[in-house]
């Protein structure tokens, strides 16, 4: 070919003959063609390398690319924190994947424009601060964590390559404040800080396959929360608390401490809102303690129900004088003492039992030690040390000994459930073994039966008549205690509480309502005692429970203790 022939003449000079220079040019054109062919082959090879070989390296679909500066080796999404649900599966806490926005100042393209767009989108991000962050020397600055998909789409539309996202899990509490103290909260790094979130941190952080089923029933929780909040407002109470406990299993069905806080922003509420008044707070609860002293009397004394005590005169022991709130000024039987809530009578009972008897009984019921429950916020009870004789008397009617409400309901549950030990629990076991496992008897069946009758009596004839609901077997005990002030007890500052049980013939729930410093109102003739505040609240809670649990009314036996009759027969027999 002409071109190959001309290869021999490649070095002919520019100044060669005219035809000759054309020959040279043609030869050199051939060389140029070869050169371009070679160069384009390099491009083709590189294309093959990138698009076929390296693409295969990425695996199926080639979706995820490791571009060094965009993907941090530590980026790998943390394990999704387990959900928390109530006993019926209602979601209490869940983790949703949410993008968090950061800036890589090195790649920010249009700092002013991007800062302006972001500050318009999020009022909490100011233009100045953003601009400052865009100029930092580092490669990673958080801008906003946990953004909605909609906001993320809008940020992507800004289109600045310096903005990046990392997926994080955002903890959400669909019930909001409703169960704040039980569920607790955790921070963005998956650290539980309160309640179940803290107590079961190890289990929760393990991951998503697991769902933590709490003992809570959101309906009970709501009934408690709504009624106590309403009563607090009505009586301008400083605080309120309530708990519903299953008397057999110890399941905490509802637990409320008010005022409460938003678990999404725990720090935005005053610090004291995080205080759990049910488990952490210890209170001198007053007359509700008569349940325990009376039970102790029944347990320790023979023919206890035939004993009577003289309540005609205030009781004088040393420099102390014990008075009744509504003095009966007569000799009272044990049921009468309990029903009218006589301090004198109860103190005399306590004196009869003796310091050791009272203390050991209280200890047996778990009132003297920090409760052994699986919950992070637990308060320790307070009682006099050393324990003097007078303390035996006052402790009988709930003075000089402070316990947390959860300890109280736990002890009450034991008293009414036939005498077995109850351990409050917040989380349900994997598989319920009903009736199995060894029950620890703490109190005799007889004492339990009598106590239930006595508590029923308080509602039918005693201080808690407002708790009576026609057709439902409700019992309980009121407690109105003066709060300790700077100089002794303050008559104006009360802790009004009521612990109720129902149905009394086959106890299921023990419900406790407590109000901190309720103020009397005209409707209650200025009274702020338990009978006027905690008791009606309890009744309304029970009504709610009756309706959503569809509990049928029943024909009730006459309580043999009522009309102050003989005490020989007890309605609530073991056989029932």
């Amino acid at each position: 070919m002409a071109s190959s022939r001309s290869l021999n003449r490649l070095s002919v000079t520019i100044k060669g003959g005219h035809g000759g220079s054309l020959e040279v040019a043609r030869a050199r054109i051939l060389m140029m063609r070869a050169l371009f062919l070679a160069l384009y082959c390099v491009v083709a090879v590189r294309l093959f390398d990138l698009m076929i070989i390296q693409n295969i390296d990425l695996g199926e679909g080639g979706e995820h690319i490791n571009v060094s500066h965009f993907i941090d080796p530590e980026q790998d999404l943390k394990v999704r924190r387990a959900d928390i649900v109530d006993r019926n599966g209602v979601l209490l806490a869940t983790s949703l994947k949410a993008a968090s926005l950061y800036v890589d100042p090195k790649y920010i393209l249009t700092p002013e424009r991007t800062a302006r767009a972001l500050s318009e989108m999020f009022p909490d991000l100011s233009y100045d601060v953003l601009l400052k962050k865009f100029q930092k020397s580092g490669r990673f600055v958080w801008l906003k964590r946990g953004i909605t998909p909609e906001d993320q789409a809008n940020i992507l539309k800004i289109g600045d390559p310096g903005l990046g996202f990392r997926d994080e899990y955002k903890r959400l509490y669909p019930q909001g404040t409703l169960a704040a103290h039980v569920v607790g909260y955790s921070n963005i790094d998956g650290q539980g800080f309160m309640g179940v979130e803290r107590s079961f941190q190890a289990m929760l952080e393990k991951g998503s396959d697991l769902t933590l089923r709490t003992s809570l029933d959101i309906r009970f929780q709501h009934a408690l929360h709504a009624e106590i909040a309403q009563t607090m407002q009505k009586f301008s109470a400083k605080a309120g608390a309530g708990i519903v406990l299953d008397v057999q299993t110890g399941d905490v069905l509802g637990m409320v401490s008010l005022p409460d806080f938003d678990p999404h922003a725990p720090t935005s509420s005053p610090k004291n809102t995080q205080f759990n008044r049910v488990t952490q707070g210890v209170y001198e609860l007053g007359s509700v303690f008569k349940i325990f002293s009376t039970a102790a009397f029944l347990e320790t004394q023979k023919n206890a129900l035939s004993v009577t005590f003289d309540a005609r005169e205030p009781l004088k022991r040393g420099r102390y004088t014990i008075r009744d709130y509504h003095p009966e000024k007569r000799v009272l039987s044990i049921p009468e003492i309990f029903m009218v809530s006589s301090n004198i009578g109860t103190a005399l009972m306590g004196e009869t039992i003796g310091a050791e008897g009272i203390q050991s009984f209280y200890k047996k019921l778990g009132l003297m030690d920090k409760p052994d429950i699986a919950f992070s916020e637990v308060g320790k009870p307070l009682y006099p040390r050393p324990w003097r004789d007078i303390n035996t008397l006052t402790a009988s009617y709930g003075h000089g000994i402070a316990v947390s409400p959860i300890q109280l309901v736990r002890a009450v549950a034991t008293i009414v459930n036939g005498g077995y030990k109850v351990t409050p629990r917040f989380v349900l076991p994997e598989s319920e073994e009903r009736g199995q496992g060894t029950k620890t008897r703490l109190v005799s069946q007889e004492t339990s039966d009598v106590m239930r009758s006595l508590m029923r009596l308080v509602v039918t004839d005693g201080t808690a008549k407002q708790a009576n609901i026609e057709g439902y077997d409700i019992g309980g005990k009121t407690g109105t205690a003066e709060k300790p002030g700077k100089k002794g007890y303050d008559r104006k500052k009360l802790i009004s509480s009521f612990v109720g049980v129902f149905p009394m013939n086959d106890p299921q729930y023990v419900i406790f309502v407590m109000l901190d410093e309720p103020k009397g109102i005209p409707e209650t003739h200025g009274y702020a005692t338990a009978g006027w505040t905690a008791v009606p609240t309890f009744a309304r809670i029970v009504k709610r429970i009756i309706s959503f649990q569809a509990i049928k009314p029943q024909i009730l036996h006459n309580n043999d203790f009522s009309q102050k009759q003989s005490v020989s027969n007890i309605v609530y027999g073991g056989q029932e």
């Binding site: 520019i14 371009f36 491009v43 693409n55």
Partner: protein
């Protein structure tokens, strides 16, 4: 093609039957690629900088049509008309480049643009093909008249252009023009020992550029050792090729363009990689090679030194520009802002390439040979 019969003697028909139709097909395919890729890549860029999403696409199509008209018009010209037009463009272009320091616009750190009738023009783009033609003419004249110092004139022009380019500064364009003139000297039959000397000089020049221009140095440093600085654009570009794979994401389906500031211009090849996949991207590269090879083969038949030198220079320019663009986005060359001929968005670049291709078409038309031969015979 019944409306363009071989026997027709009107201008259009004559043009159609004498022009290099294979080349026209190649160019049309490139233009189709270009419209598709600009349509895919530019909305993301336009929206990002606050323009209407079709801003770039509409402009691209309009300028493309003007470029096609310009190309066809140029292809009608005789060699004489061609180098006259080229001289005119070169003169105007040089004048504009001298003006730039006084009236030019600063875009992305370099003064290359001049505002004219609502359009921003980059005179250096137009100077490039015009210079190839004028230099070819000067060198060819020296072949005919021994005492005409055409090569000296061409060298002088080259020096002026490179000086003006370095003032902007535009290293990439200088490199293309330098390669172009070397190709022409090579074709003109320069001895290898001179070429080697020029090559050595070129390396020295590169070293000087490397040491005196910070942005060039940082780009070369980054190319040689990616850890020395930001390789954001190249990382993104490579990512898009890997994403693309054999089949590609489909036109418009790519995501990397969202993160590439110049996806519609300097990194449009990366968009092709991600969206069109291996086969069509390889085809795209192949068409540039075909244009160069086919054009050079046509020149082998030419009897005219001017045609050979002009076409050789222009084809080198096109082939090299495409290579640099592809090489940058494939990370086999340092990142260099270079448009992909016929494809990238960029008004002046399109007009320039239209003119350049028009010149090639004009010089490779069949009847030219007959006429040139007869002229030579008559001489």
């Amino acid at each position: 093609m019944s409306f363009l019969s071989r026997t027709d003697k009107n201008v259009l028909s004559t043009w159609f039957w004498t022009v290099d139709r294979t080349m026209l097909v190649f160019v049309s395919i490139l233009m189709a690629y270009g419209v598709m890729l600009v349509a895919a890549a530019s909305p993301a860029v336009a929206v990002r900088i606050g323009l209407h999403e079709n801003h770039f696409l509409v402009r691209h199509v309009v300028v493309l049509l003007i470029a096609v008209v310009g190309m066809i018009f140029t292809s009608f010209l005789s060699p004489k008309g061609l180098w006259r037009l080229a001289t005119l463009i070169l003169g105007a272009g040089l004048f504009a480049m001298i003006l730039i320091p006084f009236v030019g616009m600063d875009i992305k750190g370099a003064q290359r643009w001049i505002h004219l009738l609502g359009l921003s023009l980059q005179p250096s783009e137009l100077v490039k093909p015009a210079f190839a033609i004028v230099a070819a003419r000067l060198m060819a004249m020296q072949k005919e008249k021994e005492h005409f110092p055409g090569e000296l004139y061409a060298a002088g022009l080259f020096a002026i252009i490179v000086l003006l380019l370095m003032m902007q500064p535009d290293f990439g364009m200088s490199f293309v023009i330098t390669s172009m003139i070397i190709a022409q000297i090579f074709l003109a039959g320069c001895r290898f020992k001179y070429l080697i000397s020029v090559g050595v000089l070129g390396i020295v020049a590169l070293l000087i550029v490397y040491s005196s221009f910070d942005h060039v140095r940082s780009r070369i440093d980054r190319f040689l050792d990616p850890s020395t600085g930001s390789t954001y654009q190249v990382d993104k570009s490579l990512e898009s090729f890997r994403q693309g794979g054999f089949m590609g994401a489909g036109p418009g389906q790519g995501t990397v363009k969202l993160h590439l500031p110049d996806a519609h211009a300097d990194f449009i090849f990366a968009v092709s990689g991600e969206e069109l996949g291996f086969v069509f991207t390889l085809l795209l590269a192949g068409i540039y090679l075909l244009i160069v090879i086919h054009g050079l083969r046509k020149m082998e038949e030419s009897e005219d030194m001017f045609s050979i030198l002009a076409c050789g220079g222009i084809l080198t320019m096109i082939g090299l520009q495409a290579l640099i663009h592809m090489g940058s986005s494939l990370h086999i060359l340092p990142a260099k802002g270079m448009t992909l001929p016929f494809i990238s968005y960029g008004g002046t670049s399109l007009l320039s390439i239209g003119f350049a291709m028009g010149a090639v078409l004009s010089l490779t038309r069949h009847k030219k040979r007959a006429r040139i031969v007869s002229r030579r015979v008559s001489r």
